[in-house]
């Protein structure tokens, strides 16, 4: 049976959906449930990763330190992971501290064409003896050739696997097959895929990735994540079991974990809101939804117009400030 490694960023990507307000109790409960289900890696933190709590993206209720310590105490067999983006998080302030707190897996991320900014962070985490992956975000914005080049850079820095993220939920299954296929061919390390559900394709795209040779997938409880959410981990595990993949995750226990998340963490179950569809079409980072909706209201402009303008400008995750600029421009044009 072919093995698939599932990474669960419920307590990281899901932070976007609740404005990074995870509580200590929620982290403890979900970590215990995921641990019991045998989830290989549980990722914890601010939606944009370690050191990203900010006015730009939203401030976390709890510090990284507190979140990671609680998670560490409630994970026995699952590994504890973090997502980290250079430009937000530094080695000295964020990464070294996280490793001191007992993090096992470090996923160092950059925008899909900017892999070289990950070199120092990847190198540092490897030297500290951690399991390290490179993550390329917003990958719909680059061709398969460019993605392969960038992934090869991360491999040369010491990454032990590469995750492609469909951060805007913009992929069709054929896009996934094409891009994952090229990476599997060119790299000597495992390849994985992180789906978003803006166009209702998170599970289909995850399967397309496996068929193209990926062996790592991300899934969140009830799809809890930015915008329209991610691939629901409980559905993913069920579908993979049906096809005959080995995830090592117990079906009943992951269903229980998803029920628990719904009851204790989610404010609402992720659904494909109109703005999420537009965000997927426009190719804008899913995490922008919550900010776009707020700013659209305060400037009295249509959030869909904001999304299409952001798409036209090719903004990337981290440029949430541009939402305000675009909204104020749209409002001025309309003479408000």
């Amino acid at each position: 049976m072919r093995k698939v490694i599932i990474n669960d960023p419920t307590l990281r990507d899901g932070s976007h959906a609740i404005r990074h307000q995870l509580t200590a109790e929620q982290i403890a409960l979900y970590c215990s449930a995921a641990d019991k289900a045998g989830v290989p890696i549980v990722e914890v933190g601010h939606g944009n990763g370690a050191g990203a709590s900010s006015l730009q993206l939203g401030e976390s209720l709890l510090s990284d330190e507190v979140m990671l310590s609680i998670a560490r105490n409630h994970l026995k067999t699952s590994k504890l992971g973090i997502h980290i983006i250079p430009g937000f998080a530094t080695i000295e302030r964020d990464l070294s501290k996280a490793i001191d707190l007992g993090v096992d897996v470090i996923r160092v991320a950059s925008h899909c064409t900017e892999a070289d900014i990950t070199e120092r962070h990847i190198g540092y985490a490897r030297r500290r003896g951690k399991e390290v992956y490179g993550v390329l975000m917003m990958t719909h914005m680059a061709s398969k050739e460019v993605l392969a080049e960038e992934a090869l850079k991360m491999e040369s820095y010491g990454a032990e696997g590469i995750m492609l993220m469909d951060s805007a939920g913009a992929y069709l299954p054929s896009d996934v097959s094409e891009k994952i296929g090229v990476l599997v061919n060119k790299l000597n390390i495992p390849v994985g895929f992180h789906a978003h559900n803006n166009l209702g394709l998170s599970i289909a795209n995850s399967l397309a990735a496996l068929e193209a040779g990926a062996i790592m997938l991300d899934g969140c409880a009830r799809g809890f994540g930015a915008g329209a959410g991610n691939a629901p981990i409980e559905v993913l595990v069920a579908v993979l079991q049906k096809i005959g993949y080995d995830t090592g995750i117990d079906l009943y226990s992951i269903l229980d974990a998803a029920d628990l998340a719904e009851k204790k963490i989610l404010k609402e179950i992720p659904s494909i809101q109109s703005t999420s569809v537009v965000s997927g079409l426009a190719g804008v980072f899913s995490g922008f939804s919550i900010h776009v909706n707020r700013v659209a209201q305060s400037y009295a402009v249509d959030p869909r117009d904001i999304f299409f303008e952001l798409g036209r400008r090719q903004v990337v995750a981290g440029q949430e400030d541009i939402i305000i600029e675009v909204a104020s421009e749209l409002a001025a044009k309309r003479g408000v």
Partner: protein
């Protein structure tokens, strides 16, 4: 007036753009353009301008100590840590464009003349040059500033290898400039590289959490600071005036470059280099 002899160490985007600006200055003369490889676009540009070039790195200066009075260091933070004591021993004035933070922090709109007493000044970072004057205006007019956050987005094409390798230093150096010149309790700096084609213009946003935001007090001081910056960075413009959004002050500037070496989108090169030239000219005027 005798021109101040300057050498430029580092032949990347920053160094090459700086060269074009130095050549235009009535107070400066670039006497040596120094890198590590003769076959680079920067070297070709220097050659075409008739400037003496060298591929000997810092040795170009230690072997010809009389070649210059002032050295612009446009290499990387790690390299500057090595260069600083050597240049000090040679008695050179040093303007450091890396985020090594060895010398006195210099943001011309805020502390130009007081930097003259130092022989090594640090130009912070591109985002620091764009945001510090704004944070300074906030610091002068607002009470009880808990937190200031500055986010810069720059075109991927404008960020060379040293910039990319120095993101951590970029963050810590920018943050310390913001804290120093605004008096805020906490500061955070974020840098985004955006690969969009056509390239995006450099933009910087400042968020501030203060006790009772007073925009009426802020606006005139801000206007004054912005016009001071515009004297040495002509493409510096306020695009979102101070606004209270979601309980915090937010304002945004765009920096259009003059287009000396890279096109005008690379306001990040322009602003740090314009600031460095302003400082060098101040030394030159003071010398005469």
């Amino acid at each position: 007036m005798k021109k101040l002899k300057v050498a430029i160490l580092g032949s990347g985007n920053i160094g090459t753009d700086l060269l074009v600006k130095a050549q235009r200055s009535p107070y400066l003369e670039c006497t040596m353009f120094i890198g590590r490889k003769l076959a680079s676009p920067g070297m070709a540009k220097a050659n075409s301008l008739g400037v003496r070039i060298s591929d000997q790195s810092i040795e170009a200066i230690t072997n010809n100590p009389d070649c210059c009075d002032l050295v612009f260091d446009a290499t990387s933070a790690v390299d500057h840590l090595r260069h600083a004591p050597i240049l000090e021993q040679l008695g050179k004035l040093v303007i450091d464009l890396t985020p090594a933070k060895v010398g006195q922090i210099c943001v011309p709109a805020v502390n130009l003349t007081s930097c003259l007493q130092y022989t090594n000044v640090n130009m912070v970072t591109c985002g620091g040059q764009a945001s510090t004057p704004l944070a300074f205006a906030i610091g002068k007019t607002q009470q009880n500033i808990d937190y200031i956050e500055v986010i810069s987005s720059i075109a991927s094409r404008s960020a060379g290898p040293a910039t990319r390798a120095n993101l951590d230093e970029y963050i810590s150096t920018t943050e310390s400039a913001i804290r120093n010149f605004s008096g805020c309790r906490r500061a955070k700096a974020i840098l985004n590289l955006n690969p969009a084609q056509p390239c995006i213009n450099m933009q910087t946003t400042v968020f501030a959490k203060v006790e009772n935001p007073d925009l009426e007090k802020l606006n005139p001081v801000l206007q004054e600071v912005i016009s001071t910056v515009q004297k040495y960075v002509p493409g510096y413009q306020l695009i979102v005036p101070p606004t209270i959004e979601n309980g915090r002050i937010v304002l945004m500037v765009r920096v259009l470059g003059v287009g000396d070496y890279l096109p005008s989108y690379a306001g990040n090169l322009d602003i740090i280099n314009c600031a460095a030239i302003a400082m060098a000219e101040e030394y030159a005027k003071n010398n005469n």
